[in-house]
């Protein structure tokens, strides 16, 4: 019998090269792929939005967002993804679809999206300038504060965009969940768009 290994590969594994890109010198933008996460879509059953909310509160200790917001729990981020639905984003294995099914059994339908998306975190002085080339959303600090979410499109591709907690030094951090099969294409567009600012590239397993 042959031996089989099941190595999970990020869709960006080849495109992502951890070295400076574009203009040399201090990078204006940092692009970091966040790997190894669980992502579960939770959608309320018809007429069960309040039951879903109660179940979420009971399990996570905080209310799930009912408007475009992202809220942090002890080990997950709950991200609004549409009316009466949200994502549960956690470090791989923390809040898997398997563990969440019983919680929402009577109130919501769950769909595993852990492999369906790629998570890219964008920060740096020029993060907003880069995102202005990709996104029609107004990311002005007061218009898009920490925790703001937009279900929107970049480069004709649906994405979920939200502002994470600021990095040390107060720099804004933006997170983008993009469909996995589009990820390399969007990544290339990000590199293209950010080259003039200089880009620092890396990957991590730490969610911002």
């Amino acid at each position: 019998m042959a031996e089989f290994s099941w190595e999970a590969r990020s869709p960006l594994e080849r495109a992502l090269v951890s070295e400076p890109y574009g203009v040399q010198g201090e990078a204006g933008v940092a692009l970091t792929e966040i790997r190894n996460f669980d992502l579960v879509q939770v959608m309320a059953r018809r007429g069960k939005a309040s039951e879903m909310a109660t179940a979420a509160k009971g399990h996570f200790g905080v209310a799930a967002p009912e408007t475009p917001k992202a809220v942090r729990t002890a080990d997950a981020t709950l991200i609004w993804s549409g009316p009466d639905q949200f994502f549960v984003l956690s470090k791989g294995g923390r809040q898997s679809v398997k563990s969440l099914v019983p919680i929402f059994a009577a109130s919501a339908s769950l769909s595993d999206q852990s492999h369906a998306r790629v998570l890219i975190s964008i920060s740096g002085d020029k993060a907003r300038a880069l995102l202005a080339k990709l996104s029609s959303i107004d990311l002005y600090p007061a218009a898009f504060p920490v925790g703001a979410v937009a279900a929107t499109s970049m480069d004709h591709t649906s994405v979920t965009l939200w502002r994470g907690n600021d990095a040390p030094g107060g720099r804004a951090v933006f997170n983008v969940l993009v469909f996995a099969t589009f990820a390399e294409s969007l990544w290339q567009t990000m590199l293209d768009s950010g080259a003039e600012y200089g880009i620092e590239i890396g990957h991590s397993e730490e969610l911002a």
């Binding site: 089989f4 099941w6 574009g22 639905q85 339908s109 595993d112 107004d138 996995a180 099969t181 294409s185």
Partner: protein, 993 residues
């Protein structure tokens, strides 16, 4: 250095004399200074002739100092960066700039095509319509190439643009177009409230007319006020000043288009930088402070080099310290033109005369004339004696009929000012006429927009500041900000008096539209020929249709039209204004979307593995799919595809089918929901089973198909075709939210969650046994045809396994979470090694589906019914579903419909082609006996000949009949036999076995 700049003034101007720049024009080297435009540098070097005109190849000079320029258009740069129709008046000078004049051959001074002038009578209004009517075939072969060579507005580079462009969004409370006194006052007023402000200025410097005309504001020289104001704005964090940026359009909902020429002022953009950026600006309010454009007076010879707008002449003198002439005359009908006299005298130039069309001039100007020692002639310019080397003598018709001549080498002309009403009129707004300034001013504006200052017809400096400040403050308030601090900047208002004068009758060509060579007599001719509406006039004469969009010519043109029609100007009206305000490069609209980034691409989970295998990829929508996997020694695609098909039919192969749309359908009513969207029933599908489903549009035509499996009581896994994945999701959401909102259904796209592979061929089960955990029963009993369930794989992960077949072979589809997709491909190669496993691409997939008679995209063409596809029996009669009623319409159930059949060529060696028409044998092909067409073809390795599917009238009744395939596109005619579409294993034993 200056010595070579013969017309450079010794002092003054906003140029940096410490930074000389060398440049070339028509191969000759000149020098200028940082701060020059190409036009001002040419003026400083005494160059008067800068181009030939479009139609008559008349010598032309520089008319203006801005983006309204009709004449001084050049080819800027060389090689791949050569850009035709660049306005010398806005092109910033840089070291090494290389420009060439246009519309001349072989040289600017000696232009062969200027013989066109001799044929001038044939180039009259409507010339194109009258001359190139027929014969039609002459158009492509003779007329068009000849016109392009003779007339063309410069030459395109002819090779790909090496530069990059991009696009970006910006958001603000108050957007301001223009940084003259009104725009700056608006920015200060809005900025002081804390509003987010974006100010766009076309020029590289802020200030607008202040840079040329100066003045006193708040008791200080305008230049000081300008630097104070710039400093104040720079200190406001939410005020963004964008120079070299033209606001070119306004769109619905407060969205504006602007183009920023980031690096046009450099020879080439620095590495990693873009040349231009297209901005989409979303603004709550917009203040248009775009100023006004001085307008010419039309008279014979008004296009002679050396004739220049009065305001442009003082811009060259005051801003650029460049003298357009040594001995200047002024022709004006208004007070403002006189400022040029002041500027010329101030710069030490001679003033030959002022020709003023008004009956009276002010005492101030009379004393200026006597001090300056030049005559004031009451009358009009009626002709110019001059040519390519400039103006020599000016003929004047004096009021009362006498004539006079003035010797001068330059003539400044002022016919008054037209507010820039473009932006305010872009939503089909029609400006209104104001008699006191004899000009059109905005009459309302798109929602959220207001005009201020000269753009609104307020021509005095004090008025511009007041209007701008008030508009900026009001805009900020309307956008939700409080009131700001500080007072309105104060300045005096200059006197304004104007006697309207549009056209001076005289001998010789008098140009209205200099870029398109439209004369006053063309307009008169058009009127005589019945083109009385301005919209007709415009198209018949091409007035205002050149790249300058008639900025200097439209109002004069319709004034002349009004006069010949015996109507007033407001009665005559304006044409519709449309964006863009200035030409915008297509590259800027495309941004990054060019070459490999033309559109977003989607890669399958096994893409990089397939690339390693040397797969040839094909674009399928946004996807890149492996089309076939060539092997060394194979001479063409057909050989590779044939090998792949034979390997599957004789052993086992696999193909990445992750591109199929995949949708999780959850909810208590999921089954009932699917019953309504599919023609067949899904509510009775057992858990653990899959079923083929067909969807119709509401009009009864087939929409999409796919296999849907029931994974749990309240969970179905639906698949769509690759092409329709997004549209089916949208359709299902429409059904869920709009048509059937009472149902408990949730839909989620899981297309990207799963890597899905089709494994097909008689050795499929052998391969699967290697990779699937031994505890899983894969036997025909344990996993029957159309079974669907989760299984464990060796090595620890779980997969979904579906026993479905598109190829007609014993086959499964297997799904693993997408990040395991590449590992899956590698592991299938390992597991299948003993059985000669072969990866296959979309071509082999297509061949096998045609052999099996499965319909796909070419048959689901948006014209076929379920019955046409041979799937009519699937239509349930026990339930309602989308398309049910309309599918029963007479025409959709008619007996003579074209239905799917198989075809085989009678000559077994013949290749079939899709698109060939089916005609009864022995008949001459024509529309009356066209009975269908060939939809899909392939070389069938199994049949060892080409086979195809076709839509043929009454096809199922005609199995065995020989018909004619007529392919006029490729010039082929041959006979084919109609046959059963299932060429391979018609009883289906192989896929069930």
């Amino acid at each position: 250095m200056t010595s070579s700049q013969s017309n450079r003034l010794d002092t003054g101007g906003l140029i940096d004399r410490s930074q000389p720049l060398n440049f070339r024009f028509d191969g000759k080297t000149f020098s200028g200074f940082q701060g020059d435009t190409l036009a001002s540098a040419l003026v400083a070097n005494g160059v008067k002739l800068v181009g030939r005109s479009f139609k008559y190849h008349r010598p032309r000079g520089i008319l203006t100092a801005g983006s309204e320029e009709p004449n001084a258009l050049v080819e800027l740069r060389t090689g791949a960066r050569r850009e035709p129709n660049t306005k010398a008046t806005t092109a910033e000078l840089y070291e090494g700039l290389d420009a060439a004049s246009q519309n001349r051959w072989p040289s600017l001074a000696f232009d062969v095509m200027s013989v066109n002038q001799l044929f001038a009578p044939i180039f009259v209004a409507g010339f194109y319509y009258k001359t190139f009517m027929w014969p039609a075939k002459f158009w492509e072969a003779i007329y068009e190439p000849a016109i392009r060579r003779a007339a063309g507005l410069g030459r395109a580079a002819g090779v790909a643009d090496p530069d990059h462009y991009d696009k970006a969004w910006a958001h603000c409370d108050v957007l301001i177009a223009g940084s003259g006194p009104s725009g700056l006052a608006a920015a200060v007023a809005a900025g002081r409230t804390g509003a987010r402000v974006i100010l766009c200025e076309e020029d590289f410097a802020l200030g607008g007319r202040l840079l040329s005309d100066g003045g006193t504001i708040d008791g200080m020289p305008a230049a000081d006020w300008l630097s104070r104001t710039q400093a104040e704005l720079a200190a406001m964090p939410d005020v963004r000043i964008m120079t070299r940026t033209t606001l070119f359009g306004v769109y619905d909902g407060g969205t504006y288009g602007a183009v920023e020429r980031i690096n046009d002022h450099l020879p080439s953009p620095p590495e990693h930088q873009v040349r231009q950026r297209l901005w989409r600006i979303v603004a709550k309010r917009c203040v248009v402070a775009a100023g006004a454009l001085e307008r010419p007076i039309v008279f014979a010879g008004n296009d002679t080099p050396g004739v220049m707008m009065a305001s442009a002449m003082r811009t060259y003198i005051a801003r650029y310290a460049a003298a357009p002439a040594r001995r200047v005359a002024l022709f004006t009908n208004n007070e403002d033109g006189w400022r040029t006299v002041g500027a010329a005298l101030g710069a030490g130039l001679q003033v030959a005369a002022v020709i003023d069309a008004r009956a009276e001039i002010s005492a101030e100007h009379r004393s200026l004339a006597s001090k300056g020692g030049f005559p004031v002639l009451h009358g009009s310019v009626s002709g110019i004696d001059g040519g390519k080397n400039g103006v020599r003598k000016i003929s004047v018709s004096l009021t009362g009929g006498a004539r006079a001549e003035v010797e001068a080498d330059g003539l400044a002309v002022s016919g008054g000012w037209n507010p820039a009403v473009g932006l305010t009129s872009y939503h089909r707004g029609r400006p209104k006429w104001r008699d006191d300034i004899a000009a059109f001013v905005p009459d309302g504006a798109p929602p959220g927009m207001v005009a201020a200052g000269a753009a609104n017809g307020a021509f005095g400096l004090g008025a511009c500041l007041r209007e701008g400040f008030a508009a900026g403050a009001a805009a900020a308030r309307d956008a939700g900000h409080g009131s700001g601090s500080g007072a309105t900047p104060v300045a005096d208002d200059e006197a304004f008096s104007l006697a309207p004068l549009w056209h001076v009758a005289g001998k010789g060509k008098a140009f209205v539209d200099q870029q398109h060579d439209v004369t006053a007599s063309d307009i008169e001719l058009a009127q005589r020929e019945g083109f009385e509406s301005v919209e007709h006039l415009k198209r018949y004469t091409t007035l205002g249709m050149a790249t300058d969009q008639g900025k200097t010519s439209n109002v004069a043109g319709l004034a002349i039209m009004a006069a010949v029609n015996g109507k007033s100007i407001p009665e005559t009206g304006t044409t519709i204004y449309r964006p863009p305000y200035v030409p915008v490069a297509i590259g800027a609209f495309a941004g990054h979307h060019r070459d490999e980034n033309f559109h977003a691409t989607r890669l399958t989970p096994s893409h990089h593995w397939a690339a390693e295998q040397g797969a040839i990829f094909v674009d399928t929508g946004l996807w890149k799919r492996a089309q076939w996997y060539p092997r060394t020694g194979e001479k063409d695609w057909l050989e590779s595809v044939t090998r792949e098909v034979k390997a599957v039919r004789g052993g086992v192969g696999f193909c990445d089918v992750s591109t199929l749309g995949k949708i999780d359908v959850h909810g208590a009513d999921a089954g009932a929901f699917l019953d309504r969207v599919y023609i067949n029933t899904f509510s009775n599908l057992a858990v653990g089973k899959a079923r083929y489903g067909l969807m119709l549009r509401e009009d009864g035509i087939v929409y999409d198909d796919g296999t849907t499996s029931r994974l749990a009581e309240d969970h179905y896994f639906l698949t769509t075709t690759t092409a329709k994945a997004g549209l089916v999701m949208q359709h299902l959401e429409f059904c869920r939210q709009v048509l059937f909102p009472e149902l408990d259904v949730q839909l989620t796209s899981v297309s990207d969650q799963w890597a899905q592979f089709s494994i097909a061929g008689p050795r499929t089960r052998d391969l699967l046994k290697e990779i699937v955990d031994p505890s899983e029963d894969l036997s025909n009993e344990g996993f029957p045809f159309m079974g669907a369930r989760e299984v464990a794989l060796r090595g620890g992960i779980r997969a979904r396994l579906f026993r479905i077949s598109f190829s007609g072979e014993m086959a499964f589809e297997i799904s693993v979470p997408a990040r395991y997709g590449e590992a899956m491909a590698r592991n299938l190669m390992i597991a299948g090694k003993p059985f000669g496993v072969t990866p296959y691409g979309t071509e082999a997939l297509g061949v096998m589906r045609i052999e099996k008679g499965h319909v796909a995209g070419p048959e689901l063409s948006g014209t076929t019914t379920a019955a046409d596809l041979g799937l009519g029996k699937m239509m349930s009669t026990k339930k309602d579903f989308i398309g049910r009623v309309m599918a029963g319409r007479e025409a959709l159930v008619a007996a003579d419909r074209q239905v799917v059949v198989g075809i085989k060529p009678i000559d077994k060696a013949r290749r079939l082609r899709s698109g060939a028409h089916i005609i009864p044998k022995g008949e001459t092909p024509g529309p009356d006996n066209d009975q269908g067409y060939v939809t899909s073809v392939c070389f069938s390795p199994t049949s060892d000949q080409w086979i195809g599917l076709a839509l043929v009238e009454r096809g199922r009744e005609r199995i065995g009949e020989i018909v004619h395939a007529h392919d006029p596109l490729r010039g082929e005619d041959y006979d084919v036999e109609i046959c059963n579409p299932v060429f391979y294993d018609p009883d289906g034993g192989r896929q069930r076995g």
